[in-house]
């Protein structure tokens, strides 16, 4: 296992933000931690990054407790930070080359040229970082996160503030990383669509607990709610929630025949059930 989290708890003062979080990640797996704001996603990922000390529970990243991780361990971890205006006077290629040199005692860093190519920043290599657009900066953030060819990559809310095009480019980049480099990836997001596009497995975190886990298909099955059927008979409107809408409609026609009109079957989407679940917890 690349990530092992067992019974993780986190408490700030008397406020408990994580209760008994448990999950694992296999090599090369892409895991999404999905949940609303304040669910504890950032806290979880920062504990795994070694940036925060947990209150209780067992946590291992690459077989090492992040609280005791040394520099060699650190060299195998990639962290994609949300940049804002740091290193504004550095040039894109210069910063990547410089940060890459921190990894040379441990392993071969990604050559700057290839890396710029991979994230589509080659035309901007000589540009100062403060002149980049938001989307370009985020691609640079990813490049910085992977410059040391990490075995594990952490991304906290990676696409906040992206326009749809930048978002889809970013998704492609992350999928490529997992597929071609075999990198294990843990990302947090509050966007279900993003989680289901990127992740092999989704962990739904709400109010400090994992309330569901699985692939998109498994989650749909696991937490699928009931479909809603609406119809009218003789001008009177009816509605009914049912798990098996097909059988219900067959029954409906068998009973009323042509009298049934304005029939509408609404499938419950994963989004609906996710929202319902989260609301239940809050």
């Amino acid at each position: 296992m690349v990530l092992t989290v067992d019974g993780l708890r986190m408490r700030y003062g008397d406020r408990e933000v994580l209760h008994d979080v448990t999950f694992e990640a296999r090599p090369g797996e892409v895991l999404a931690l999905l949940g609303p704001n304040g669910a504890g996603k950032s806290t979880t990922i920062e504990i795994l990054e070694g940036f925060r000390l947990r209150s209780a529970g067992r946590v291992e990243v690459l077989g090492v407790d992040p609280a005791a991780g040394d520099e060699r361990w650190r060299s195998r971890i990639g962290i994609v930070l949300q940049s804002w205006r740091d290193h504004g006077n550095w040039r894109v290629g210069e910063l990547l080359h410089h940060l890459g040199s921190y990894y040379t005692p441990y392993q071969r860093a990604w050559p700057t040229g290839e890396l710029l190519d991979a994230v589509g920043l080659t035309p901007y290599a000589g540009q100062k970082i403060k002149t980049l657009s938001g989307g370009q900066r985020r691609r640079l953030d990813v490049a910085i996160g992977i410059v040391g060819r990490p075995d594990v990559l952490f991304l906290d809310e990676p696409t906040t503030g992206f326009d749809p095009e930048a978002r889809s480019e970013f998704h492609e980049l992350v999928r490529g990383l997992a597929a071609e480099q075999g990198t294990t990836i843990l990302l947090t997001t509050h966007d279900l669509d993003e989680a289901s596009k990127l992740a092999h497995r989704i962990l739904v975190l709400a109010a400090g607990r994992i309330i569901a886990a699985g692939s998109t298909a498994q989650l749909t099955e696991l937490i699928a709610g009931e479909d809603e059927v609406r119809w009218s008979v003789d001008g009177q409107a009816f509605r009914k929630s049912t798990a098996d809408s097909t059988a219900f409609v067959r029954e409906l026609f068998a009973t009323y025949g042509d009298a049934v009109s304005e029939l509408e079957v609404r499938r419950v989407s994963l989004e609906d059930t996710y929202l319902a679940l989260v609301r239940e917890q809050a």
Binding site: S75, N89, L99
Partner: protein, 274 residues
């Protein structure tokens, strides 16, 4: 080690290749030179020494001590914008970051001193260049940097926002006022003279004067002595205190950095703008 050195050199080059920073490199030296220009013919009391000649080395000493302030400001700024967090995310990043900071601040300072000293030498009469003690200048400068930069790093880790950094400036100005930079410390009331002599600023000014002024000028000083031994002792004490305390404070600060901390500060900073 090597990465830290490289980092420092890159930052140093950057600070001399962009407009706003280049401006700030020249602003102080030029203001000081202007002040010296008006002081150059004025005598100090009845001693027969020119005030300009007394002031130039003092100002050099003060500027060198101000490395403390730029160190502190840069640390706070780097923490606010996430530079420090990036350093934390790469192997050996924190150590390299600090080495880089010391290289770039100290390097920038040396260049600033040269910007001040070289035109100053032409402007001011009464310096003893022929018999100047360059070795004294170098050891005072180096020991002074070792004494002040760690203190700057400590201040930078204690004050968390750019705004609270502004607050440091006031006591700093007060210290300069009592440190005998613009007017010999012997002209101050006794208790202020005492406070002034606790600061590294005074001793760096004294050291610079001892290096650049003719030997006769010593009569202006406390006890009519250059007091090299005391200079070394006071600066040495500051250096030891700083070097002992700085790693502890810096480590504590570094441990607390995380993505959500930076995000929080970003929110606050953006609200200030809006």
């Amino acid at each position: 080690m090597r990465t830290g050195w490289q980092r420092g050199l890159i930052e140093l080059r950057q600070s001399f290749t962009n407009g706003p920073e280049l401006f700030s490199h020249f602003l102080w030296p030029v203001l000081m030179l202007a002040a010296l220009f008006f002081l150059r013919h004025r005598d100090f009391g009845s001693t027969g020494f020119l005030l300009g000649a007394l002031a130039l080395p003092s100002i050099l000493g003060m500027n060198a001590a101000m490395g403390m302030v730029s160190m502190s400001q840069q640390l706070t700024a780097d923490r606010e914008d996430g530079t420090l967090l990036r350093a934390k995310a790469v192997p050996n990043g924190m150590v390299s970051y600090l080495i880089g900071k010391v290289v770039s601040v100290a390097g920038g300072l040396l260049v600033d001193l040269a910007i001040l000293l070289i035109p100053g030498l032409f402007l001011v009469e009464g310096l003893a260049l022929g018999s100047a003690h360059w070795s004294t200048l170098i050891w005072v400068l180096l020991l002074g940097l070792v004494a002040t930069l760690p203190i700057g790093a400590i201040l930078g880790s204690v004050f968390t926002t750019a705004r609270s950094q502004g607050l440091i400036q006031l006591p700093m100005l007060a210290l300069i006022a009592v440190s005998g930079i613009f007017y010999p410390i012997t002209a101050l009331p006794g208790w202020l003279e005492g406070i002034g002599q606790l600061t590294p600023v005074y001793w760096m000014g004294l050291g610079m004067r001892s290096a650049l002024l003719p030997d006769e000028a010593v009569v202006v000083e406390v006890g009519e002595s250059w007091r090299h031994l005391e200079t070394a002792a006071v600066l040495g004490l500051w250096a030891i205190a700083g070097l002992l305390l700085a790693p502890v404070v810096l480590r504590r600060m570094a441990r607390r950095e995380s993505g959500s901390k930076v995000a929080e500060r970003r929110e606050r900073a953006l609200q200030r703008v809006a």
